[in-house]
């Protein structure tokens, strides 16, 4: 059964419970204490040790417009668990697998940190976890966690697991469970899609410019198991307008390499000839 997330940004209050619930369950360290000055967003992006990230987009109304026209968009971003996943295709060790819940899962004990998945993600989700993060003082449980958690830290790639371990025992993923306003909904993907389509209709009827991101779109990635309901263009939320599956570039790339090799080979044959006796 394919499970995933439907993140409805119109219900998000930007509380960041998802970010903390995720770090708590996965025992991920804090990424540092830098003040960004970018609205209420200080984690700024998904990363090797930040698997949920809440983005804040301020669209204040001009002073001569009614204050209610001000907008403050919030979205909880996460790994998209693509139908065709760039990271999974790129992984040379088979560390990245598709599990029985159709989620894209990084096996931390297999990953050897080659880093090829990082540039292979068209959403900029997966990233390397620097070595020995868990020894950082900011690691809350100061090492007192199970090996599973420690496994993840150091020289391997990290991203949302869609709480594979929780799903195995029938638990809801930590972020979706914590979400106070049901902005993050977890469930069977096809069911979520149906719900999402109805939701969009409802919102449109209420005059909200709602649109779905990640399903019912024609691109090489295919549907996303973690998809979104947005009220502005994707770029506003730092999402690619038209993501492309990297492996689609391979035929052309191999082709050009082969062509060059053949050409050079031919030239070589012309040059390297037994001189006439």
């Amino acid at each position: 059964m394919a499970t995933g997330f439907f993140t409805d940004t119109t219900l998000c209050i930007g509380c960041k419970a998802c970010e903390v619930a995720c770090k708590q369950w996965n025992q991920l360290p804090a990424d540092g204490y830098a003040f960004s000055g970018n609205s209420y967003d200080n984690t700024m992006a998904l990363g090797g040790t930040t698997w949920r990230h809440v983005a804040f987009v301020e669209q204040p109304a001009p002073l001569d417009a009614p204050p209610s026209e001000s907008k403050w968009l919030m979205v909880s971003d996460v790994c998209k668990h693509c139908t065709h996943a760039g990271c999974l295709e790129a992984c040379p060790t088979g560390a990245i697998v598709r599990n029985e819940f159709d989620s894209v899962y990084v096996q931390p004990d297999v990953c050897n940190g080659c880093g090829y998945c990082v540039p292979s993600c068209p959403f900029g989700v997966i990233d390397m976890i620097e070595h020995a993060d868990y020894t950082r003082p900011s690691f809350p449980s100061d090492g007192r966690t199970d090996d599973d958690a420690l496994q993840r830290h150091g020289g391997v790639a990290g991203k949302c697991t869609l709480c594979y371990d929780r799903q195995k025992v029938g638990f809801t993923p930590a972020c979706a469970k914590a979400c106070p306003t049901d902005s993050i909904e977890f469930g069977e993907v096809e069911e979520l899609k149906a719900r999402a389509r109805t939701r969009v209709a409802t919102l449109r009827a209420r005059g909200v410019d709602a649109r779905l991101y990640g399903i019912d779109e024609d691109n090489s990635i295919g549907d996303l198991n973690a998809f979104f309901l947005l009220t502005d263009r994707p770029a506003t939320y730092n999402l690619p307008e038209r993501p492309v599956l990297p492996s689609t570039h391979q035929p052309a790339a191999y082709g050009s390499a082969a062509l060059a090799a053949l050409a050079l080979g031919a030239i070589g044959c012309l040059v390297f000839r037994a001189s006439a006796p």
Partner: protein, 325 residues
């Protein structure tokens, strides 16, 4: 100030406030990168470079053996060289892994969809062929018992080294092209071809230099110089066409300081200058060695600018919003 005043315009980071306007002017998210930059450093650059030479040498062996012993010295050197480089490659590769002790995990799977996986298997195949070829060569050279020669019959090792070598020289270009990094993806028709040419050219240079150093087979040196000239000019043409077709996406590679470095080290220093020197009628040893050095350096610089420009390209959200199809 008047009430008509738009607070967004006043806001210090107005652009970042996510105003959704005209189609091509993307509202970036506080100028944050959309993509993650690769964590690759000099190890990977060196690996791409060395792989190129090894692969190119593999191709040269087959060519050299076509001439009934005229280029025997070249073939011999190339066999030893390709083995040496093939042996060095995994070491460099392992060095850059986050968990080097897990290098062997690369051998858990064979993935046609993963150039990295293909490359590893290619490298293994090439190493196998090269070691047999080198062993046989050593037998013929009397360095080891002669009967060992049967392990590396030329009818097997030559085509193997040539084919896998060509792959080795080219897949690294495929590897970076088949990513989400706008510059690399944009260069999917150029980067692999350029890699092959550059690798082949570098192999010619390396072998020419070896011959020159050992002061032997000057005919072979001339042949190598001719082939290198062609490879160089092809590489030049490909890069110029890449620059043209890449347009704005090519900026990280072709503009600014990095662009100048590419022009000087690779285009001029690594291709044009050696070409000019090569066409000169006289051929002193130092010239061969010098042109070879220039070509090799140019080749390294090219790989470096691929990787470094890729990182910059990854940091440009506007480029990433529109990923090359």
């Amino acid at each position: 100030m008047s009430d008509a005043l738009d607070l967004r315009a006043l806001s210090p980071d107005a652009a970042n406030r996510g105003a959704s306007s005209g189609d091509d002017t993307f509202p970036t998210y506080y100028e944050q990168p959309l993509l993650k930059r690769p964590h690759w450093g000099w190890e990977v650059v060196t690996y791409l470079f060395v792989g190129g030479i090894a692969g190119g040498s593999g191709m040269l062996i087959a060519l050299a053996d076509r001439t009934a012993g005229e280029d025997a010295a070249l073939a011999r050197n190339a066999r030893y060289l390709s083995l040496a480089l093939a042996a060095a490659s995994p070491v460099i590769l392992i060095k850059h892994l986050g968990r080097p002790e897990r290098f062997h995990h690369m051998l858990r799977v064979v993935k046609f969809k993963s150039p990295m996986s293909m490359g590893v298997w290619g490298l293994i195949a090439f190493s196998a062929a090269s070691s047999r070829a080198a062993l046989a060569q050593a037998a013929r050279d009397g360095l080891v018992p002669g009967w060992l020669a049967f392990l590396g019959p030329r009818w097997f090792t030559n085509p193997a080294q040539a084919l896998v070598g060509a792959f080795l020289a080219g897949y690294t270009g495929v590897l970076i092209s088949a990513t989400a990094i706008p510059l690399w993806a944009k260069g999917k028709r150029h980067i692999p071809a350029a890699s092959v040419c550059s690798g082949f050219g570098a192999a010619c240079a390396a072998n020419a230099a070896l011959l020159a150093l050992r002061n032997e087979a000057s005919d072979s040196q001339r042949k190598l110089e001719r082939v290198e000239l062609v490879a160089g000019l092809a590489e030049l043409a490909i890069l110029l066409d890449f620059r043209r077709s890449a347009g704005a996406l090519g900026a990280p590679m072709f503009d600014g300081a990095r662009g100048r470095k590419l022009t000087n080290a690779t285009l001029l220093g690594g291709i044009v200058l050696p070409a000019l020197l090569n066409v000169l009628p006289f051929h002193p040893r130092w010239k061969t060695i010098a042109t070879s050095a220039l070509t090799l350096f140019g080749g390294y610089a090219l790989r470096e600018s691929f990787i470094e420009a890729g990182k910059t390209s990854a940091d440009d959200p506007r480029a990433a919003f529109r990923q090359p199809e």
